[in-house]
Every structure is written in structure tokens, then in C-alpha cells.
Symmetry: C2
Subunit: 335 residues, 2 copies
DNA sequence: CTGAAAGCGCTTACAG
DNA sequence: CTGAAAGCGCTTACAG
């Protein structure tokens, strides 16, 4: 591989001058710069990122931390969209995306150690076990990060407006005449907390009683446990007319359970999802759901993270809240 | 940050000895090694990957090249599973995953230059425009790569047994009494070529005529264009009894088109997908499809790539073919 | 078994 | 405007 010294020799210049010419420093004559650029192109010069990183202490590598309790990983139907958008925006800004893991070579190390080892400049935390001690260690370190959906106090978060969005959804369902709305919510975390709070607030505002037997817990993206919860709800003597589910994927399980009971959606009972993934709109009936703006979430996450990397002295830690959009669909019908 | 010199000072040893102790070289006394390890732990030493890479010329970074013509990127419902499995296996072996792009900093560069710049040791090529000149440049370089689905002569490929798998699917459909089977295939590429060949071979073997009007082109993962193609097929005077689609996602478009025509699946007309993604089995009716073994594809891809990185003198370039599994589902009914 | 020395490819204060 | 020199943190042949 051609290096800067080869160019210097070819140009009869010092490596210092070549380096400056290549990096666009002002204190190089136009003539010299042109010659250096020309020769370096002729020689097929490609800089060495490791050498540059070693000297400048900058890698431009951004780490992704991305594992969820259901172990969807990269295949998560919602978060992969967030990530895709994040990646596009990060790369537009000249950074690179890499995945954080727990090793160097064959040795097991902590997430923070992996970041330090590889000179990761910033991390996006998506869809992880928020209580993992290694994760907490990372969030307390000096490495900037942006968290999606979970709030680490004092650090920037980006998330959907879960509380208000679910209220919007419930108001819509209410407007169709529903007065008995069950909620199969996801396992406890920040998102679940906000949505359950929104569910309760909407009930109070609309004058509907909150009934414990209408609230069940399931796992996110888990059609199986959501079907189980659906069966419990269908067994109630006073059935709800509509069931909210943790997300679109688990809504499929809910609908399956309803069909298995010989009922139909939305004629006998209505169902709403959450997320607005592609499949929710190509199935029949089209799902009533809240479409999270994954493009915006990923893009803002990238911009905010980069801002904080480049302004370590005055980081922007104000949480960013992105509105979701109600998709009316057809799975919630009029009463 | 603590470096190797700090440890050397603390241990009253040379950096050379510390380095050797840390790296498990044999020619260090057990006592010295223990002390070095202890001190380095006490000091919170973390090695510097850039420095190590600069010296050893090894980064352990594996690049992903992953963009498809429908621009699904990371959100591709099939390939994200391949990638997830690939990632897990790569990391198990102590390598890291990163994405290849076309820049360093704000400068536009070729894919190969990006790889060289960052010291990428190997690349997985998934789901890209195979004729991109920059891609061809990369495939002709000295950087080992593994290609999924597309065959670059002289380089290792991993792919499903498309030709035989679709024959298996057609034999099953035939066994249910179907004699008029249409095929909406994807846009031309290696996979499409093999599948179309399998479609024709199966027809010959089973004594069914190949009818041009039963073959339409669509795009992969595109429900819209597949619906359009379905409409053309439904307009035929002598309709087929079953339609094969490019993949499960586009099968939704096909089914939509059928429903819009007032027909039902599978009572009036049967539909088969391809891939076996999660949604194909939680929809109603469950889709008849070929389930690609994404876990195996990703895992083998990782192992083969690593093997070729670590054995540059005797690379293994034999193509790996993975069998798919027929999922009978319910969207293809008996005649 | 230990260490002195060279060097990986680059950048950057500093001198001229 | 150009260059000599130091140094980023590490590894490794070589000498002892």
C-alpha cells in the first residue's frame, strides 16, 4: 500500500507538507497542493484510518447497541426501521456504523470496554434490557449516547409521544362508540409505563371506568403471549368491544385468538395495534394503529448524537419527542 | 487513558515484556505475567485497537454491503434475518461488524477505497445491484468476500437451492391437483434465473405446458407491482388455478388483488409465496411457501468468510447451497 | 526470561 | 510556504 512517504518522495516534499496538502490546510501553496493531489491519485493512495485515529484520537465510528428481550435483534420489525434511518443519516455526516459487542478477540469484555478499545465516539441504545449493569456502566461513562424510548436522566432520549399518542388512539376508538376498551400492554418499561398512563388518563377524561380485568400483560412483538392474553379477555363475562395490543405484530396473535373463538374482526370485536409497520397495512382487515415516525426518530437520533460528539462542552440533552400518526384502518369498527 | 507504558512503569518492566505478558506469549515468567495482569486490571487498562491495527495490520472488522433495488436496506424482511445470523456468528469468532459506505469524512470514495481505508478484512455482499461497477471493482480486489445469492465466478457464494426448491414447491402444488400454475417472478437476477429454470423444468417433468401468458415479472418485496401482475393474470380468459409470487411480501399484493376481484384464497385461486418470513405464518390463511434457512445461510457465510480471511493462501471458494423447507400452509388448496 | 530499538502511517506544534 | 521532529500506543524481531 502506498503511504504518505511514497507521495512525499515522488513529489520531493516532506511528509508534513504532503499531509497538509491532503488535508486541505491553508498554509500550502496552490501549486504544491495540486501536485500532491495529482501524484497521490496517480499512485492510488488511500489513507490509513488506524494511523489517523491513533494520532488524532478520532475514529468517526458510531456504535449500535441493539438487542431486545425477545431477541429479535436486527430483525425487529419496528426498530430495524429506526436503525436504517439512523444509519443513513450517520453516514451522510461522514461517520461509520458498527455494532458494539462484548469481546475483543476471544476475550469477554464489558460493553464499555469494547467501546473504549475500538474508539467508539458515540452510541445509540435501542431496544435493550435497560437494567443490564454493563449498559448502566456505559450510560455513566464519558461516551456520548442517544437512547431510543428509554430515559436515562441527564442524557438525551428520543421517543414517541407514547402517552398522548395512545390517548389519541383511544379518543378515536371512543368516537366510534366503544366504551369498553381492553389493553394488552407490553412488559414493563418506560414505553409501557407511558402508554398505560395514557390509557388511564384517556379513560378518566372520557368518563370511562378503568377496569382491572381489562388490563393484561404480554410481551412486545410476541404474538403467542398476546394470543394467550386475548383468550383470557374473551373468557370474561362482560367482554370489551375493543382490544388494544402492545404492537402490530402481537396484534396478529390477538386476531388469531379472536378468530379461533369463532369471532370476527371488527364485526364482533375490534383490535388496534401500535407501530404502523408495513404488514399492518397489507393485511386484511387493515390494522387500526399508531404509526411511529421511524424515519424521523432515526434521523433525529443521528443528528443529536453527532451534535453531542462534536460539542462535548455543551451537549444537548433535551429529550426529543416525535408524534405518531393515527392510521384508522379497518380493524376497529363502529359500535 | 492508561496505556502500556503506564503499566510498564508501575510494574518496573519494559513495555515489550508487558505487551508479551498481556498477549499471552510463552516467553514470560508466570510470576511476571500474573503481576502485569493484576496491575493492568487495577489501572483499568484497555488496549487501543487503532494502535494494534496499525502495527499488526489486522482490524478484525468485517464489512456489510447491503442495499437492494427496492431500497429496503436493513429493513428487508428476509435479508435482515440472514444478516442477524451472520452477525452473531461473526462476533462469536471475535470479529466486528461494520457497514461499508461510499465516503471517508465528507469525501466521496469508492466502496473498495472505503474498505482499504478502514482496513476491512472481509465483506459480505447481500442483496445489492450486482452490476454496480464499484461492486465489481471490490469483487476483483484482494479483499475476501462472500456473496449471498449472486455468483461471482471464482469467489465463494452461499445461496438457497432455488432451482430445486421451487421444483419441490411446484410438485406439491401439482399433487393437490393443480395443472395451471402461473408464476409472477422477481426482476432478473441470479435467483430469478434459477427459479424460472426450476419452474420450467418442473413443468416439463410433470408434463404441464409452459404458457407464456402465465409468466409475469414483478419486483421482489413489492406488493404493488405484484398486485398489478396479478390483475393481468386474473384478466386472462383461461385463468390459472394457482399463482406463485416472488416472495411472501409480494404475495400479500397478489392476495389483495385476488380479493379485490371478489375472489377468495384458496377457494377460488391458490397463492404461494417464497421465503417463509414470520408474517407468512401469522396471517390468514397461512401462506404456502418455501422457508429459506436464513440462520444457516448467515452462519455458513460467516464461517466461510472467516476461513478465507485466515487462510488467504488456500481459500475455499466452493459454493454453499442450503436447502429450503416446504411450508404447506393453507393458501394453496386442493382442486 | 527480559528489554532496547525500530517502526506501523499519520498529524501537528514549532522553527525557519 | 515548507520541513524536521516528536509522538499517538502498540508489536516484534533481535540481542543479551
Amino acid at each position: 500500500m502506498i503511504n504518505i512517504r511514497d507521495i512525499a518522495a515522488e513529489c520531493k516534499l516532506s511528509v508534513a507538507t504532503v499531509s497538509k496538502a491532503l488535508n486541505g490546510y491553508k498554509d500550502v501553496s496552490e501549486e504544491t497542493r495540486t501536485r500532491v493531489l495529482e501524484i497521490s491519485r496517480k499512485l492510488g493512495y488511500i489513507p490509513n484510518a488506524s494511523a489517523r485515529a491513533l494520532k488524532t484520537n478520532r475514529t468517526f465510528n458510531i456504535g449500535i447497541l441493539f438487542t431486545d428481550d425477545q431477541n429479535n435483534g436486527l430483525t425487529h420489525y419496528h426498530f430495524s426501521h429506526v436503525l436504517n434511518s439512523f444509519k443513513n443519516e450517520i453516514e451522510r455526516s461522514g461517520y461509520n456504523i458498527t455494532f458494539i459487542n462484548r469481546r475483543f478477540g476471544q476475550e469477554k469484555v464489558s460493553l464499555l470496554q469494547n467501546c473504549k478499545f475500538r474508539g467508539i465516539e458515540g452510541v445509540i441504545i435501542v431496544c435493550v434490557d435497560e437494567n443490564d449493569p454493563e449498559l448502566l456502566e456505559l450510560t455513566k461513562s464519558d461516551i456520548p449516547f442517544i437512547s431510543v424510548d428509554h430515559v436515562y436522566p441527564g442524557s438525551p432520549t428520543i421517543l414517541s409521544d407514547n402517552r398522548n399518542d395512545i390517548k389519541k388512539l383511544i379518543r378515536y376508538i371512543y368516537s366510534l362508540g366503544h366504551r369498553k376498551i381492553a389493553y394488552i400492554h407490553g412488559n414493563p418499561n418506560n414505553v409501557t409505563y407511558e402508554r398505560v398512563a395514557g390509557y388511564k388518563e384517556a379513560h378518566e377524561e372520557l368518563g370511562m371506568p378503568i377496569r382491572e380485568e381489562y388490563m393484561k400483560e404480554s410481551y412486545y412483538t410476541n404474538a403467542y403471549t398476546t394470543r394467550r392474553a386475548t383468550e383470557q379477555i374473551l373468557a370474561l363475562s362482560d367482554r370489551p368491544t375493543c382490544i388494544l395490543t402492545p404492537d402490530d405484530l402481537s396484534a396478529f396473535g390477538c386476531i388469531e385468538g379472536i378468530k379461533a373463538a369463532g369471532l370476527s374482526v371488527p364485526d364482533d370485536i375490534s383490535v388496534a395495534g401500535y407501530d404502523g409497520i408495513l404488514f399492518s397495512q397489507i393485511m386484511t382487515p387493515k390494522l387500526t394503529t399508531m404509526k411511529q415516525d421511524t424515519a424521523k426518530i432515526g434521523e433525529h437520533a443521528a443528528r443529536l448524537l453527532i451534535y453531542n460528539i462534536e460539542n462535548p462542552d455543551k451537549p444537548d440533552i433535551s429529550p426529543v419527542v416525535i408524534k405518531s400518526e393515527l392510521i384508522k384502518g379497518q380493524s376497529v369498527g363502529p359500535i
